[in-house]
């Protein structure tokens, strides 16, 4: 028994040291971090790349856009990721920090668009909303219903209160929590877009930007908006169980569940593939990934992976990413970004 123990411990120690010293000098696979919205698309490309080339399949972590930029910008070297996915554009502060950490050359690649849908169960009638309705129904503070230019705590209980054309159904919206990129995009595109329809709020933007942001971006907390977690599948299931409720999530989840749920009209446009692609649907956002130029040479397969991602068969209008629910960019834009990838044009601070 004693001998066994000593051997075991010795083995462990030697093993641990051997392993410890063998890594760190190189990495033979691509490491990708970032947004959970881009994750389902980046993974498809990675898998395709891994199966059709002699290189290893890239590793993709779903850390969220902010977490991804933090890991990505920590430095240059094999222990840091090569690419970060982002469901929003990189912030100026993030790029400044990256440059300070020695990550000076970053190539920005836009891959396409994602629509954010407001959907409900097929069992109930389809909703015809406007961004203004969404703002009035979901903001914490809304303009006084009596018409004066003051803000009051949101008094609306049913959709009918918000807009007489809507049904008399209690406002109940399931959506993502504040940590989610989908939530950021929703408040920015839908709520702020609706708030701007009120002239006095629009004027506020110039006078007091902070207050303007707070008015547009704060969601009510009295139970009408329910934070349903980051799992969009769960929201879809809850919508089926509760036909009265509306849910907010990415277009790909609507696309996969068209037999159970329907996307509401927003400003008269229904979230369909074509409507998002040609820019008619108002609540859509661009998706990006960012590449560390210093790693393109040192990590095997980087160039080929970038070529795969920006090829027509991946991100083209008939490509396999479109099958997964990514809304492709117009042809001219695709060309612009695939050229940027080929020439590895780095992003400048002045671009942001």
């Amino acid at each position: 028994m004693k001998k066994l123990f000593i051997t075991l411990m010795a083995l462990t120690l030697v093993g641990g040291m051997g392993i410890g010293s063998s890594f760190a000098s190189s990495r033979d696979y691509i490491s990708i971090v970032g947004s959970s919205t881009v994750y389902p698309f980046a993974t498809v490309v990675a898998e395709q790349f891994g199966k059709t080339t002699p290189y290893k399949t890239p590793k993709i972590e779903s850390t969220g856009s902010g977490g991804g930029h933090k890991l990505f910008g920590a430095g240059v070297g094999v222990q840091h990721p090569d690419i970060t996915n982002s469901s929003r554009r990189i912030k100026k502060s993030e790029l400044e920090k990256d440059i300070k950490n020695g990550v000076t050359d970053i190539v920005e690649v836009k891959i396409g668009y994602d629509g954010i849908v407001v959907a409900n169960s097929k069992e109930s009638a389809i909703m015809r909303l406007s961004r203004k309705d969404l703002y009035k129904a979901l903001a914490a503070k809304v303009p006084n219903p009596d018409g004066s230019e003051t803000l009051v705590e949101n008094p609306y209980k049913t959709w009918h209160d918000v807009n007489p054309n809507l049904p008399k159904v209690a406002i109940e919206v399931l959506g993502p929590p504040p940590t989610s990129g989908t939530r950021d995009a929703f408040v920015e595109l839908a709520m702020e877009g609706g708030a701007k329809k009120f002239d006095f709020i629009k004027k506020m933007k110039k006078a007091d930007k902070k207050k303007y942001k707070a008015v547009c971006h704060t969601i009510r907390e009295d139970g009408a908006y329910i934070e349903a977690g980051e799992n969009d599948n769960l929201i879809v299931q809850k919508l089926q169980a509760n036909p009265q409720a509306l849910g907010i999530f990415g277009f790909s989840f609507l696309d996969q569940n068209t037999d159970k749920i329907q996307g509401s009209f927003i400003d008269g446009v229904q979230p369909t593939f074509d409507a998002i692609a040609d820019g008619k649907y108002p609540v859509s956002r661009p998706l990006f990934f960012y590449v560390k130029k210093a790693h393109v040479e040192s990590i095997p397969g980087m160039k080929e992976f970038l070529a795969e991602f920006t090829s027509e068969k991946a991100w083209g209008s008939e490509g396999y990413l479109a099958d997964k629910g990514l809304i492709p960019m117009p042809e001219a834009e695709r060309k612009q970004f695939s050229d940027a990838v080929k020439n590895l044009v780095p992003l400048k601070l002045s671009d942001l």
Binding site: L8, F23, P40, A46, E47, Q48, T57, E61, E230
Partner: protein, 468 residues
Amino acid sequence: MSNQITSTVKEQGVKPGQATKATQNSGTADSNAIKTPESTGDTDALHRSPAQTAEIVEKGLARRYRSEKRFQLMGVSAIILSLMFLSILFISIFGNGYTAFKQTVVQIDVFLNPEKLNVDHLEKADYQGMVKESLRIMFPTVKNRRDKKKLYGMVSTGAAFQLRDYVQEHPEDIGKTIQLWVPADDDVDMLMKGHIQRGGLEVNRRLNDMQISWVDRFMEQERIRKRFNVDFFTSGDSREPELAGIWGATCGSFYTMMITLLLSFPMGVGAAIYLEEFAPKNRWTDVIEVNINNLAAVPSIVFGLLGLAMFLNFFGLPRSAPLVGGLVLTLMTLPTIIISGRAALKSVPPSIREAALGIGASKTQMVTHHVLPLAMPGMLTGTIIGMAQALGETAPLLMIGMVAFIVDIPGGFTDPSTVLPVQIFLWADSPERAFLEKTSAAIMVLLLFLVTMNAVAVLLRKKFERRW
């Protein structure tokens, strides 16, 4: 005397109304009796005749039986309730998941055109094109571009890779037409398994009428069938549900558990032996003991944060590696193993130690020759339970990058990998509906591992444990 009876009756808790006439005595005496029930009760018993005692006991008896019954009923209903929840959980998981062990496959005829296949560069040929061509031949009436795209979508994108592998293995078949069973697309699979309904409006379905008619054609020609899903057990993760499997995650779990076992078992046993057999009993050992007990209750995500700060940022170990995952889980399971190890050592009777010391064994000999072998079954049980806990853990792995999309099967301790519970988490979050059954099936596999490990722990205890 009547007062005394009242007091004893009171002691047994019978309501005054139900008691004898004696209860209707003066109120003051009654309250006195309540003030000192025990002292008076004791002496009363001596003066009581057996008949009186029997009477008192009988009166209380029905109530005591009732309360016992009530108590037992509560226990039974607690068990029934928890069994019910458990069975609801199992039924929903098994109900959703059992279909994942079957896979829909489609038979296609592929002509291996020698003009398109260069024997020296077999890996570069356009296999996707060959699969498409064979589908076109099967359905020559499909002309328009959109419909063709739908037609190609009937079989999985994995078909081309399967064809490639086949051709590389059988280069002698080039020039012939081969029949190959390839996985169907996940939507077709869902239709065959009844998760997509055929009825209803066409726009409400993932598959349109034309695609369903193609499936029917396949069925007429017996070119579509369900078979046991081997791929689910042999392949890594994939974004195509019909190609996704748990082997990659299982390997990752295996390497992670190996590291955890190799580190936590010797360290845990060593710590337990020292603390129980050698360490002096003073303030320091008390502090250590309290801390170990506290560590056992620390939320596991905290160990993940520690791992991120220590192993990744300070020591510079690679992200997403089973090595780091194992180290973090070691921190998590160590307290469990130490506590159970100490309990096992404590249960070895002191006479064994005294006997060993008495015939001249040193303290080390006493421990290694006598105490440890007797305590081993208990220690192993604790270790297995700790390992089962670690096997089901996701939270600490989140921080060290093991929540990731990894297709390649990990081949060592530093290859990027993920583990079974993380795989379940990732699939549960995927938009494709077919991942729902995969999620449940993966849960079933994980449960199987956990049940096996716990059963081994029980068996070990049954077989080797000695009672004194």
